[in-house]
Amino acid sequence: MINFTINGQNVTALKGETILQAARKAGFYIPTMCYLEKTTPCASCRLCVVETDKTDGFILSCQTPPTEGLAVTIDSDALKTERTNIMRLYNVNHPLECGVCDKSGACDLQNKTLEFGISSQHFSAKEQHRTIEHWGLINYDPSLCILCEKCVHVCNEIIGDDAIELKFGGYKSSVIPKNSDTLDCTFCGECIAVCPVGALVSSNFQYSANAWELTQIPATCAHCSAGCALTYEVRHTSNTVGAIPKIYRVTNDFEHTTLCGAGRFGFDFNVNGTKDPKMFAKAVAAIQSATAIRFSSLITNEEALILQKLKEKFGFKLYNEEARAYQQFMNAYGSMCGKTGCGGTLEAIKQSDAVILLGGRISSDNPAVRYAVTTAARHRGAKVMYMHPLEDELLQNVVTQYVKYEVGTEEGVVAMLAKTLLEGCDLSNEIREFLDELDEGYLCAESNVGDEEFSRIAKSSLRAKQKTLVIGSDLLSHKRAENIARLCALIEMYTDFSIVVVAPSVNTVGVSLICELDTDIGGANIVGYNAEGDFTMGSLGNPELLLPSLNSQEGTFVSMNAQVLPTNVAVGFDGYTLNDIANALGLNAQYTIDYTPQLPRDKGFNGTPFDDLGNFYTALGEDRRGYILKNTDVEINGVLEEINDLPEFNGTVVYRCNPINQFNGYTAQTKQLEKDATLRGSTQFAAAAKIADGDKIRIEFAKGVQERVFVIDSTLKGTVALVPTYDVALGSLGEQYRFEKVKIIKMGSES
């Protein structure tokens, strides 16, 4: 703790905190144009200069930690003069096009120009000709760019794409794609978010609305389990009374949160319905006579509770294989360590200096995890061990050790990992014996992971102070998921690794806590809610009864961080809701969110009513969204099972894995997101499957057949191809083990 003063007032700073951070915490205002809390200081705007009693001249508050007893002055006349001059420089030749600029009304340059009272151009320099760049979803206008470098920092330090850089050239400097003619990135759009002026803009949004016309609706992203905060910005489209507004764009509180491309650009998935009493009656009847309701995890907690209550009332079954797999995994985990939830969070990953990523393709499964890992790698120098059968090029600049194991051998890999990490821990005899009796030779040989690779993992994490093990969804849907879960629990119990489980879908965690799920054995009279059924309802596929999509609903999700997060209605819905059906079936609630306080307390929910849930970050970045589930105790009765033969996957194997920014039926229908529906594989895969780039093929799965085009992806190696699931309207990742041996037939070649 360092004590110093700002304008004579006592202030304290923590070790590592800068003068600017301490000042902001103490409520002092120091102007900045390039400062971004979540990255290292860009230090380009120079507005944050301050004076001190120990220095000659001004010092930069954004990158200087205070020293004990320092007396800082933040607003002398001399400072004001130079800051004003800097603002005058910023305004040299800045195009006077605020009238049409997207940023107008929410522009830092505009704000600061007014703040410093710059009413005319004081200095002049030769005008230069600049061309606007069109980079797909993103446009860049260098003449508007003030070269604050926020975009460059966030792209490299948080996202990990490292796709843009500054082209140095003094007055002619600009932002350019790195090592490429055009922007080649994952299109998260975070550069647009952080741009303080109108230089980087969404090409879809550009010139469509003014900032001040848009209504901001705080919500939670409905694409994956990270539960990112976002704001739907909506505007009326017609003057007709009751006309439903449209979502114009999604923004985020970029100082403290980060959003992927799906969250940012994949917002237009809402549907509208009408109140058709006949269809409503049909739905009610279908449920009354249903043997089961099959549903997806694209559902709020409140609706999940409605389904559970209906189940209790009518005795039908509830099917959701993806959530059930997660539930079983977590139950097995809890049976070892006595807790319902794991200790790790996305925030913990960011703070880690050793991270093991095991059994998932993080960059597309859950970009928030990727960003957290990038943050750890860049800011903490984290050792990142990536264990998966498929290498991921997007992770190369964060991964320090890639461990490739054979498809299907996850149980063996986890056992060996546990054995490695538990070396020297004080274990019960039972566990020690279990680990000692592992047939190391067999496990290493079958998984194709050498002893030395495990030793290297141990060595890399040896000096780390904070460690996280990230469990991907390959493990959740694995045949031996429960034993894997028990082994993972051991790692968390006996080492200082905390565990993060990447739940496969938006509200997998909530569903697994709220619903008693049954094994999906099919049967007659099944009602599907955003899932297949004899009667279907929902907002995906072509349901018989349209129900509101997740951006037309209020309610809560539980994120992979075990955080209960509220979401709100961005655009209205004229038809019926599940709550209406439930009321017709004898439940009684005016609004769906009347169920929020009824969410099960024994699972850690705390009974807070929906309207009392916060949904924002404070100016200093404190998370005030919803609440964290209580991690409740459960009975310890788990027993480690002996590891028998590890399965082998030979022949043509595909891996269910969506392209970047695609997750589910919602993202599939949005306008801006790229919709790659191809089977992607390496040249090696093509040779093994006897197919060529561009071939139309038929893939025969154990359940069902798909027709796709095969494309060779030069970033892939090995004999496993990637098959998307998002475009199968009612399919979801994680219903079954993600790898599958399939038959691939080149179409037109069948005889």
Partner: protein, 678 residues
């Protein structure tokens, strides 16, 4: 001392305007009065003032050109608002005045923008560019005003009779023999752009892993931050870029794309730091390079001399692989002879000799005979240790016998080893001896503790003491005692420092009666090394220095024989890795032009580099503005004595990311622009 017409350099106020030539007051600084052998300078202008050598200089044009250079060189900058726009405005306004279109308000705006740049720019380049411009506007105001009032261009505005040559430098870059762009690689760390960091290093220094570990870092002695609190830990920050490349299995980040082959061939003799560096920069220029190495392994003295615990071989090999990745051809186990050299003259377009100094010098005591068993030269001792530790190349039976080793590696169990030295090599010997399980290790040194620290490093000395090395200062071996040619003991004299009554340097004088006998099994002389230059054909009559190294002019590194170049220790005498790198980099640059044009030339950048080194960029008296003092230098963790003394684990962990970032934040980016008009 320089003869100047006018100078404000480093605060001096010399104004000889209107004075008779013989009454001129001289400048106290080594200003670049002669640009090169063909041209005299007319003016020198830089971060710390301006000096005019010729009364005819058009100061308005000079100021405009200096501002223009800031624009040209802004690739080093363009990173902050005041520098980016301010620099442009400076140039636009000065040019407007110089071409006869200025107004008096432009002078005011110039002063105003200058002030903002001086106070708020990100790096020193932006802060200091206005300095000499303001000097000129103050001392030669009438010339500016005359352009404005008469609306006429300045006298040389439309003439192209003068060359303006500029150079970016920094105190640390200037002090570094390899002139590494240190602020750029530190900025890469600060911005978490480790690839950029490494590429900045590799512009002039291919051995990033190596010089991130075992460089004596002369840059830190001339780090401007020293004037404020403590120097930046420049050396260790170099590792971050190198580690990033290695840890993530990227290919190699080269500073530029390798040029297509130009059909020229160069032979490099020796694969040590100088040879590797020469090969690297020659290869980048599209020249085919064959490197001949006497030893079975690559890397020279850093491989077989510097121990594993200081310089892990897997890291050094990364540096070597970076060189190989450019297509350099290595030929090992080949000692180049005079006959081969004669042949090379026909086979290659040029030859670079980089054979180092690999002969351990004698200590000059009585009975010092190499045939005595137990008398073992430091270079050979370290060869044997390192070849086994790093490459598993065992000691031959013959050598086992020669050095009385019980097995095929250097096992000193139960033995006493005495080393005579005081430099890095002797430190390596004693610490390797500890790791070879010697019972007792003694270092004899003629001078005192402070001097040994100055000649090596504080860490190196203290780590050796911690590991159990016994240092006997003010001592020297007088005689060796043997029995049947087997070393038995040493007669050691003691000395004391006697002050010179006349105030001269104190002298070391022997203390009579204080000599003692020291029983030992090994005596390792590690006082210095000399070059083995038998490969130079005698009929070439290559000129030598007085200490028997190859003579060059220290600028282009060509020997007295055309086409034969020399760099590194064989040219300079035993010196540092970074010195070898700097020399070889320059030699490669000269060779790359020589093989095409047959001319020996230096680039303007190289000429300016040498001028600035003579002038010295670092000013230890400067008072620092704009930075808060009292932020401590970071120190990386080291293994404990118990953890390290019986093995070859790397002693230093290197910075954690947190330490590295805190350290990088301390860097003040002291870039400067200097310009000569001739």
């Amino acid at each position: 001392m320089s003869k100047v017409y006018f100078s404000t350099w480093r605060g001096e106020q010399i104004n000889n305007i209107g004075k008779a030539d013989d009454a001129w007051e001289k400048s106290a600084y080594n200003l670049p009065m002669e640009y090169n052998e063909y041209a005299s300078s007319k003016a020198f202008i830089g971060w710390d003032g301006v000096a005019l050598f010729d009364p005819e200089v058009d100061v308005v044009r000079l100021a405009t050109e200096y501002a223009a250079q800031y624009q040209v060189y802004s690739e080093a900058c363009g990173r902050c608002a005041p520098g980016r726009w301010g620099g442009r405005i400076l140039y636009d306004l000065l040019d407007k005045i110089a071409r006869g279109e200025g107004s008096m308000s432009d002078m005011e705006h110039l002063r105003e923008v200058s002030k903002t740049m001086q106070e708020t720019s990100k790096c020193e380049i932006g802060k200091t560019v206005p300095n000499p411009l303001l000097d000129l506007m103050t001392h030669f105001e009438s010339e500016f005003v005359s352009c404005i009032e008469n609306q006429k261009p300045s006298k040389h505005y439309h003439l192209e009779d003068i060359s303006y040559i500029a150079k970016i430098t920094a105190p640390c870059m200037d002090a570094c023999p390899a002139h590494v762009d240190i602020p750029a690689y530190i900025e890469g760390v600060r911005d978490l752009r480790f690839d950029d960091s490494l590429m900045a290093t590799r512009q002039t220094m291919p051995l990033a892993h190596t010089c991130g570990r075992v460089c004596p870092h002369p840059c830190e002695t001339e780090c401007r931050r020293t004037n404020l609190d403590e120097p930046i830990s420049i050396m260790e920050l170099k590792r971050l870029g190198a580690d990033y490349e290695t840890d993530h299995g990227f290919g190699f980040f080269h500073p530029a794309e390798k040029k297509p082959s130009i059909g020229k061939k160069v032979a490099v003799i020796g694969a040590g730091p100088a040879g590797l560096t020469g090969a690297y920069y020659l290869a980048l220029e599209g020249i085919d390079v064959d490197v001949y190495e006497e030893l079975p392994v690559l890397g020279g003295e850093v491989a077989v001399g510097v121990p594993e615990y200081r310089m892990p071989i897997d890291k050094y090999n990364q540096d070597i692989e970076a060189v190989r990745s450019l297509g350099v051809n290595f030929i090992t186990n080949t000692k180049v002879t005079a006959d081969m050299m004669r042949q090379f003259e026909n086979d290659y377009d040029a030859t670079l000799v980089a054979t180092g100094t690999r002969i351990s010098k004698k200590i000059y005591c009585d009975n010092e005979r190499p045939e005595i068993q137990g008398y073992w030269g430091a270079i050979d001792f370290l060869d044997k240790v390192n070849l086994q530790v790093k490459y598993n190349i065992m000691v031959s039976e013959e050598d086992q016998k020669r050095h009385m080793l019980p097995s095929d590696f250097v096992d000193l169990s139960g033995k006493t080893l005495v080393c005579v030295g005081g430099g890095f090599t002797s430190m390596d010997v004693v610490r390797c001896a500890i790791r070879s399980n010697a019972a007792k290790v003694v270092m004899l040194y003629r001078r005192d503790e402070a001097t040994i620290i100055k000649n090596t490093t504080y860490e190196e000395y203290h780590e050796a003491v911690e590991e159990g090395v016994e240092f006997i200062f003010h001592s020297a071996v007088a005689a060796i005692k043997d029995e049947n040619n087997v070393l038995k003991s040493l007669i050691v004299d003691r000395f004391e420092l006697v002050a010179d009554p006349n105030g001269g340097r104190p002298t070391l004088e022997k203390i009579e009666g204080a000599s003692f006998e020291l029983e030992c099994d090994y005596l390792i002389p590690a006082v210095s090394q000399s070059a083995d230059l038998k490969l130079l054909p005698s009929e070439w009559e290559i000129e030598m220095t007085s200490w028997a190294t190859i003579k060059t002019n220290g600028k282009d590194y060509m020997t007295s024989r055309r086409g034969i170049f020399a760099a590194g220790d064989c040219e300079y005498g035993p010196m540092t890795i970074v010195n070898a790198v700097g020399q070889a980099k320059r030699a490669a640059s000269v060779i790359s032009r020589y093989v095409q044009s047959g001319e020996i030339t230096l680039t303007d950048d190289e000429i300016m580099e040498d001028h600035l080194r003579r002038l010295k960029v670092y000013n230890k008296k400067e008072k620092i503005k704009g930075w808060l003092p009292g932020l401590p230098r970071q120190h990386s963790e080291v293994l404990t004595v118990e953890e390290r003394k019986d093995n070859n684990r790397e002693v230093k962990y290197g910075f954690t990311q947190e330490e590295a970032l805190a350290e990088a934040e301390r860097c003040m980016r002291c870039y400067y622009i200097a310009m000569v008009a001739y």
